[in-house]
């Protein structure tokens, strides 16, 4: 079997105006079954995908933000959110939904999968990936 590769999903677009955010999430969910190293980066308007309190009743489009919360169950533990992108949009970590996973190496303690990091660290994460999928 091939060695494990580092997959990075880069999300730069806002939800609902276009379908990229939803269809990106569908790839992540399928990809989680392949036992590769998986990380997600939320940059630019991609940070809006994780905004709390989304209610799509008025636009007739399905609200897919709860699906992000399921990522922890799929053992996706690395959702990197760019701090500069949040700040430019007047957001902080408190405005984001919670995504948690149970850490098997730490007695199944519940931990946050969301990591707010600076732009330089996002650049490092990008430069460390084997496969970058952009949405």
């Amino acid at each position: 079997m091939a060695k494990t590769k580092k997959f990075l999903y880069v999300n730069r677009k806002a939800p609902y105006g276009t379908i990229y955010a939803l269809e990106s999430l569908e790839v992540v969910l399928i990809g989680a079954a392949f036992e590769q190293d998986v990380a997600l980066a939320f940059v630019d308007d991609g940070v809006f995908q994780l905004a709390k309190g989304q209610n799509t009743d008025g636009i007739g489009v399905k609200n897919f933000s709860p699906t992000f919360r399921a990522l922890g169950d799929y053992d996706v533990q690395k959702l990197f959110v760019e701090r500069e992108s949040l700040e430019e949009r007047g957001l902080s970590e408190a405005d984001l939904i919670e995504v948690v996973y149970e850490d098997e190496d730490d007695d199944w303690a519940e931990k946050s999968a969301i990591h707010v990091v600076g732009r330089a660290e996002i650049a490092d994460i990008m430069a460390d990936a084997d496969v970058v999928l952009s949405f």
Binding site: K13, A14, P15, Y16, G17, T18, D44, D45, F48, A51, K52, G53, Q54, N55, T56, D57, G58, I59, V61, N63, S65, E88, R89, G90, D95
Partner: protein, 102 residues
Amino acid sequence: MSTLHTVNKSPFATQALLSCLNHAKAGDAVLMIEDGVYGGLSGTGMSEIVTEFGKAVTLYILAPDAAARGIGTNRLIDGVEGVDYTGFVELVAKHDRTQSWL
């Protein structure tokens, strides 16, 4: 005679809102819809410029699109008014033409 301008793009992603505001005339209305609603957020890198233009034109936001994106009315720039689809229709009827900034 006045125009209803609609903007459906995030001002952090494209130049559509800025171009719209640069061409709107005093007395016009600008309605932010779809991903355009982010232009109504206060406390962002765009808020100051949007506020400044808002002195000449009336700024609206499509409330169902804002709610979909988790934007509460308390997060809006002062003076940005929320409307529903019925309000959108009223704005179209009230102004002499509609121009979409795609």
